[in-house]
């Protein structure tokens, strides 16, 4: 029961402690380590050499240098990490308000569709106008798509989990219909026409490197996320609603409008991820252009524990796994499905922190703070 006033200048601020940082970070680190060990065991059971496989994985994801026709491995990892990062930020924002946005995939699709339409349909615009317009179209489409779920939640109490899942299917169907019908390119494969050059999100380095401005945008999103959630009044409002909805309501916070706003921003980020993918990499819209980025990003968000730095590191990890998988399969003969096994175990351990805690008793930080009576 120490006197508050007796502690000098730092009397009202919490003393910074690495211990506290570590106590937030270690479950995620432990989850990844455990998943790597288990996946290694699985590789061994299949008769391959896990050390060789992991060496190939690291090489393929980080170390291989570029050639005249092949981009640098590390930069490709950043390319893969970009959509994970933007999507996971959107999903994390939902978590902060206590909302589970499972509709990231659908919002990504809608964002991609809107961006591509703006990208090819408008012509004769300078890039300084056209590119932002295409990006904004993607953001708005994602925001609108998630906003439907947010509005239903706010106005009618409809669970956002169910609504966003359903909206995913509708988004697939809409994209499929559009690409096969109204905006189909005159060719054999169902796809849209190419976007105009003025709508392309350019690369940062000359070919064959693919690293593009979308990566810079993604980092900017992470910084913006930090300021929004931890430094702004709106962010505090979002977090309070997530932490104790009833107390927030008693304090005069409009919980329903907070839900709506959170879903709109969350969906906007997911839409931006779709926009970046099509404007920078594809430059047109195929029928099925992602392989579940929107769902894997839920794992990225969970692993990142809601903090933008954590989310960025988790996105980097998932990007590296995705990028290194091909080379691993090629050079060590281990199926790249092992990556899915690894991701699955990461999810299991992140979702069930009790398992990790029991396995790593020694790493548990001593309880720093004591109940003050």
């Amino acid at each position: 029961m120490s006197s508050v006033t007796a502690q000098g200048q730092s009397r009202s601020a919490a003393p910074f402690s690495w211990q506290r940082v570590w106590s937030g970070v270690w479950p995620a680190v432990a989850s990844v380590v455990l998943a790597l060990v288990i996946a290694g065991a699985v590789i061994t059971i299949t008769g391959a050499d896990p050390v060789a496989a992991y060496r190939a994985l690291v090489e393929g994801a980080l170390l291989r240098e570029g050639t005249a026709t092949r981009p640098t491995a590390f930069l490709e990892t950043l390319v893969s990490a970009t959509p994970y990062l933007v999507l996971a930020l959107g999903i994390s924002l939902g978590f902060a308000a206590g909302l589970f946005n499972i509709g990231a995939e659908g919002q990504l699709y809608m964002g991609a569709l809107a961006s591509v339409v703006v990208g090819f349909a408008l012509s004769g615009l300078p890039w300084i106008v056209h590119l932002p317009l295409a990006l904004v179209a993607g953001v708005l489409a994602g925001a609108l798509w998630a906003g439907i779920a947010g509005w239903l939640k706010a106005a009618r109490g409809a669970p956002e989990v169910v609504v966003t899942i359903m909206l995913n299917y509708i988004a697939y169907a809409v994209v499929n219909y559009m690409v096969n019908g109204p905006i189909r390119h005159t060719g054999t494969a169902p796809r849209t026409p190419d976007i105009q050059a003025s709508a392309v999100l350019p690369t940062l380095l000359p070919a064959p490197e693919r690293i593009h401005w979308g990566f810079v945008l993604a980092i900017a999103c992470a910084v913006g996320y930090y300021f929004l959630l931890y430094r702004s009044a709106l962010g505090l409002r979002i977090r309070l609603v997530g932490a104790n909805r009833e107390a927030a309501r008693y304090a005069g916070i409009n919980v329903n409008s907070t839900y709506l706003i959170t879903m709109v921003i969350s969906g906007g980020l997911c839409g931006m991820a779709g926009a970046i993918e099509v404007l920078a990499l594809y430059r047109y819209l195929p029928t099925e252009f992602t392989t579940g980025y929107g769902f894997e990003s839920i794992a990225v968000a969970l692993l990142g524990q809601g903090h933008p730095v954590g989310v960025a590191l988790a996105a980097l990890l998932f990007g590296a796994l995705a990028n290194g998988a091909g080379y691993m399969q090629f050079s060590s003969g281990v199926s790249n499905y092992i990556i899915a096994v690894m991701q699955a175990f990461i999810i299991v351990f992140v979702a069930a922190p009790g398992i990790v805690r029991d396995l790593f008793r020694w790493a548990r930080p001593k309880r720093a703070e004591v109940e003050v009576e």
Binding site: S12, A14, R231, L234, L240, A247, V372
Partner: protein, 504 residues
């Protein structure tokens, strides 16, 4: 060596948690057929001691002796086998099961492959008759009032042959009438040789029911006494460690103009029953109006309607003559209403967030706490510093999660927050629930100060003593109506008690 009539003895029990000595060489003995009260403030170590007895914690040092034999209790299962029963503050009942099913849970008897409910039911009826504990074994727990649920918990312990019964803050959730009935149950139990440990921080109750009293403070036994030897004031100062003023000091009210006017308000409860059947009253500036009543007679809904948290079916709430928009806590706050909600943990604080944030919960979006949409940490912290000092909130620093503070300090933080805004009306619902004696004294003083500064105060409390001590006028609620009004200076306890039961 223990005396023959001592059933249970705890010797030198010590339990250390990181950074805090929760129990420091505690000695306690329980005689056969007595009610032994364990008195202490929140955090004094009562619950830790009882959790050790019940096998939920292992002591770092010390011994437990039962019937003259040393025992070690590793789990609640061991405790039950030794005849120790515990009724927790929060009941451990499954609401969707019947009374019988709840009682036999874990001890099911079978007839072939089927569950045999008939035999246990007979035994439950037998226990019920023997101890005068009236319960219907076939009723569903969710349909029972809180007092009866507690009775089920007691029968559950007796069904497991408990000879030592521990009751943790048993009256916290009960109405005055239910408390009476609990006490007669306890008297019947001790008459039949059961020994009871009664954990409480309420002096009146301890004096009324205990044969002996042991007082704990900061993990130590500070004294043992009997109700005959020690008065309330003496017990209070033992508990707190300094003299405590139990009576609220206040001058006669100087009522001014009407601030709050409630006009014929009707509202439904969450369960879609008519909770308010047309309630009208006024509260003037400079007076404290207390609403007495057994809980569940519409007080919760009334407070929610006034504070904009519940949409009324009919009627109006006027603040300083202007109607308040229904369904807008924000409008109420902006127009000078402060609100101490009845359930602090659920509505009053965000436990995982810092004390500093909790102190600006309703104003953080406005200058000086936010500028251009960005939070101003320095302003938030200096506001916390000021309030921590003014309201004597004990905390290591302002960014400690408020959930780690004691109940009394949490409540002082809620009071500090609500008092830090310009206040025309204070709506205080159960303002001292689950709060230690020292903090009660402080909160009462601040409420009277608010009145003297010209605020209108509406006090809702299930504690009749609190209503009697603070109110200038007393309104009694029963069945969703105001059934009586008394002057605070001349009201008699018995009279109010009758009104609370609907006997006009």
């Amino acid at each position: 060596m223990t005396r023959p009539d001592v059933v249970l003895e705890m010797r030198g029990i010590t339990k250390r948690f990181p950074g805090v000595l929760a129990n420091d060489h505690i000695n306690l003995d329980l005689r056969k057929g007595e009610v032994h009260a364990l008195l202490g403030e929140n955090g004094a170590g009562k619950s830790t001691l009882m959790n050790i007895l019940y096998g939920l914690y292992q002591p770092d040092a010390g011994e437990i002796w039962l019937d003259g034999r040393r025992v070690t209790i590793h789990s609640p299962r061991d405790a039950i086998a030794l005849g120790i029963g515990m009724v927790h503050q929060h009941f451990m009942l499954v609401p969707t099961l019947t009374v019988t099913e709840n009682i036999i849970l874990g001890l099911e008897t079978r007839r072939g492959l089927l569950l045999d409910e008939a035999t246990p039911q007979q035994r439950i009826r037998q226990i019920s008759r023997d101890f005068g504990l009236e319960i219907d074994p076939e009723a569903y727990v969710k349909d029972l009032p809180v007092g009866v649920q507690q009775r089920v918990e007691i029968v559950k312990a007796l069904y497991r042959n408990a000879r030592v019964l521990v009751l943790d803050e048993p009256t916290a959730v009960l109405t005055p009438l239910e408390v009476e009935s609990l006490f007669s149950t306890l008297r019947a139990l001790v008459k039949r040789g059961v020994s009871v440990i009664f954990i409480s921080h309420k002096l009146k109750e301890v004096k009324a029911i205990a044969d002996r009293i042991t007082v704990l403070r900061q993990g130590r036994v500070v004294g043992s006494t009997t109700p005959a030897e020690a008065g309330e004031a003496q017990l209070a100062s033992m508990m707190v460690g300094r003299p405590v003023i139990l009576k609220v000091d206040k001058s006669p009210a100087q009522p001014g103009p009407v601030v709050l006017s409630v006009r014929d308000v009707k509202a439904m409860s969450d369960r879609r029953a008519m909770a308010l059947q047309g309630v009208s009253f006024d509260v003037r500036a400079g007076e404290i109006v207390g609403i007495a009543g057994v809980e569940g007679n519409g007080q919760t809904e009334l407070v929610e309607v006034i504070t904009g948290l519940r949409q009324p079916l009919a009627g109006q709430v006027l603040l300083c003559g202007q109607p308040l928009p229904a369904w807008s806590p924000r409008a109420a706050i902006d127009r000078g209403m402060s609100h101490i909600p009845e359930d602090r943990y659920k509505y009053g604080i965000v436990a995982a967030y810092s004390l500093a944030i909790n102190l600006v919960l309703s104003v953080f979006h406005r200058p000086p706490f936010s500028r251009n949409g960005l939070l101003q940490r320095r302003a938030i912290l200096s506001n916390a510093e000021r309030l921590v000092e003014e309201f004597d909130i004990r905390a290591p620093h302002a960014e400690v999660p408020i959930g780690k503070l004691s109940g009394g300090n949490q409540q002082k933080a809620v009071v500090a927050r609500e008092f830090s805004r310009p206040m025309k009306l204070l709506v205080a619902a159960q303002p001292t629930r689950g709060v230690d004696v020292g903090s009660i004294e402080f909160i009462h003083k601040r409420i009277v100060q608010a009145r003297d500064a010209g605020a209108a105060v509406l006090l809702v409390s299930a504690e009749l003593d609190e209503i009697m001590a603070l109110s200038d006028r007393i309104l009694v609620m029963f069945g969703g109506r105001i059934v009586g009004e008394r002057d605070g200076r001349t009201a008699r306890r018995e009279d109010i008690g009758l009104l609370m039961m609907g006997k006009v």
